[in-house]
């Protein structure tokens, strides 16, 4: 069996039994899945007249300018679309946090338990080890994002009017989840590998996550304040930039990931 697969298997066997890590990955997914539904259902209920305030109207106007068919829609439905789109963006935190926690745990954890030395004494190539660890982090993080998104779509179909779904699951939404999602997972795990080579504790390594969360939050807030609307073209441009960043980050990670460096410098 290929060494990459052996590592992948090992990482997942270990991950499955690491309840806390699993929980810390699931928690944001569940929150981002349920929060928007709580908002669209509870806000109009609690504040029947006030929810449609100046901010929401400004957003609806902005949306209407970009997509004229929204102008003819019930303001409540536009509110639904607006909230669901915002949270599609928030979904990107799932691959970021997930890939980062798995990558840092699987490297810093091995460092703490001193399991890397016997592993590196086997004929495995360091690139194979790095691939195994990267896939072990990127695949579940991406998969979790997609599964959560699947539930999101399902809940929208059940709980929201049909027009809403079509306006959320659009090229922008799909590109965010299926293109940007895996790319930020890779970026996140790459940064995880790099900081793990220095950090003594998985938690310190995970603080690098702030670096990645901030841009997403900035987009979220700017879009909320009506500064701009994400267009498919921009998302694709973003994907191209991310791809380039991923390659650079992974190259740096691979350079740090050498037998001798790992054993003698990663103290």
């Amino acid at each position: 069996m290929s060494a990459v697969l052996v590592i992948l298997q090992k990482e997942w066997a270990d991950l499955r039994r690491h309840r806390l890590l699993m929980l810390s990955m699931m928690a944001p997914a569940v929150v981002f899945l349920l929060l928007p539904f709580a908002l669209v259902i509870l806000v109009p209920l609690l504040d029947p007249s006030g929810w449609n305030d100046r901010n929401v109207q400004r957003m609806a106007e902005l949306l209407g300018r970009a997509e004229p068919d929204l102008r003819r829609m019930d303001p409540l439905l536009v509110f639904h679309i607006y909230i669901f789109r915002q949270f599609t963006l928030m979904f990107l935190l799932i691959p970021i946090l997930g890939a980062l926690s798995i990558a840092t745990y699987s490297i810093v954890g091995e460092k703490q338990n001193r399991t890397l030395e016997p592993l590196l004494a086997t004929p495995i190539r360091t690139t194979e080890l790095l691939w195994g660890k990267s896939l072990a982090a990127a695949l579940p993080a991406t998969l979790l994002t997609w599964i959560t998104f699947g539930f999101y779509v399902l809940l929208m179909r059940v709980l929201s009017p049909a027009e809403v779904l079509a306006h959320v699951v659009n090229p922008v939404g799909l590109s965010l989840i299926f293109l940007i999602g895996p790319l930020v997972a890779i970026l996140s795990l790459g940064l995880g590998v790099i900081v793990s080579s220095r950090a003594k504790d998985p938690r310190t390594a995970q603080q690098i996550g702030v670096l990645l969360i901030l841009p997403i939050m900035a987009l979220f807030i700017m879009q909320m304040r009506g500064f701009f609307l994400l267009r498919a073209r921009w998302v694709w441009l973003g994907a191209a930039v991310l791809l380039a960043l991923d390659v650079i980050i992974l190259k740096i990670g691979a350079r740090l990931f050498q037998r001798e460096t790992i054993l003698t410098r990663w103290t």
Partner: protein
């Protein structure tokens, strides 16, 4: 099986191992004995192709460290200083991972074999985190053996174990020797080195001495015999001193410690002389030096180097100097 020539490792200007020249013969247990920081782990890491030597060379089973590392890694099994097991995984899973990484053809059979041999079979599916230190150490040994390596590098395999478990592990290592494996055993436990090793290299950054445990002992102390008498009188002492072949006499209570150049020939004459002056001899034994004394003396005298290598090792030791 393993030869090194002028093997040296420098970490950021700090010399960890210097000019280590040695030859480990096929099928022997070779002890690497040294205090903390002597460079034992560093040597093992170089021989396992984990870190590269700063200078000098090492050849293992015909493969050169730094050039044929992949071949060396397949040939060598290693028990690292820390057992380094995956604690959330079971004993069996730990071994399976390594068997697969080493490309073992019948993974299940090999894993089962070593779980049985090291008496871990009953606990095979328990997470290693629940194991005692001794069981973990045994599992680390099993892991080092799962691909049937011809060369075994053991870095302090019994450190931190209780006497009973220490014996289990030592007996196991002794058995491995019978299977024709070449074993490098790092330890600062002198008793262990003496029991298990065919030859010992005392290391303190540089190689200090290399020989069999018995020869090391003889080289350092010459030969002395201890005569225990019913009572030591001045007359007896005087008589011993006048024997021309006696190099030195010391009295310790009722015992005389006598340095001789050739006890086999001189003992009968000595005994006759003692009896003539009325000494009642209770015991006559040759003085045994523990390896501990030898070791401490070697370490203290490091730099002075009073130790001459034995004929067989002279070539190696002289270039190591």
């Amino acid at each position: 099986m393993i030869t090194t020539r002028e093997l040296t490792k420098v970490y950021d200007g700090k010399v960890a191992v210097e000019a280590l020249t040695m030859e480990i013969r096929s099928g022997e247990i070779f002890g690497l004995l040294g205090p903390n920081g002597a460079g034992k782990t560093t040597t093992v890491r170089m021989l396992a192709a984990l870190i590269s030597p700063t200078s000098g060379e090492a050849v293992i089973g015909g493969y050169r460290v730094g050039e044929q590392n992949a071949a060396i890694r397949r040939l060598v099994g290693i028990v690292t200083e820390a057992p380094g097991l995956y604690e959330r995984l079971s004993a069996r899973e730990n071994l399976e991972i390594y068997a697969k990484l080493y490309g073992v053809s019948n993974v299940a059979r090999q894993v089962e074999k070593y779980l049985h041999l090291l008496e871990l079979w009953d606990r095979r599916d328990d997470p290693v985190g629940t194991f005692s230190k001794g069981m973990k150490q045994k599992l680390a040994l099993a892991r080092a053996l799962v691909h049937e390596p011809r060369v075994l590098l053991l870095d302090e395999p019994t450190s931190g174990l209780d006497p009973q478990m220490t014996k289990v592990v030592r007996d196991f290592i002794a058995d491995l020797k019978g299977q024709g494996r070449t074993i490098l055993l790092c330890t600062h436990n002198l008793d262990e080195a003496e029991r298990l090793c065919d030859r010992i290299l005392v290391l303190k950054t540089r190689p200090i001495a290399l020989d069999t445990p018995q020869a090391l002992r003889r080289r350092l102390f010459g030969r002395r015999i201890i005569v225990t008498l019913e009572a030591v009188t001045d007359r007896i002492l005087e008589r011993v001193r006048t024997l021309d072949f006696v190099l030195d006499v010391q009295q310790e209570d009722r015992r005389l410690v006598i340095a001789l150049s050739d006890p086999e020939r001189q003992n009968p004459i000595l005994v006759r002389a003692l009896v003539e002056v009325g000494a009642a001899i209770r015991f006559l034994t040759e003085e045994e030096h523990s390896l501990e004394e030898i070791y401490l003396r070697l370490i203290e005298e490091e730099g002075g180097m009073p130790v001459l290598p034995s004929a067989s090792d002279r070539a190696e030791a002289s270039s190591a100097r």
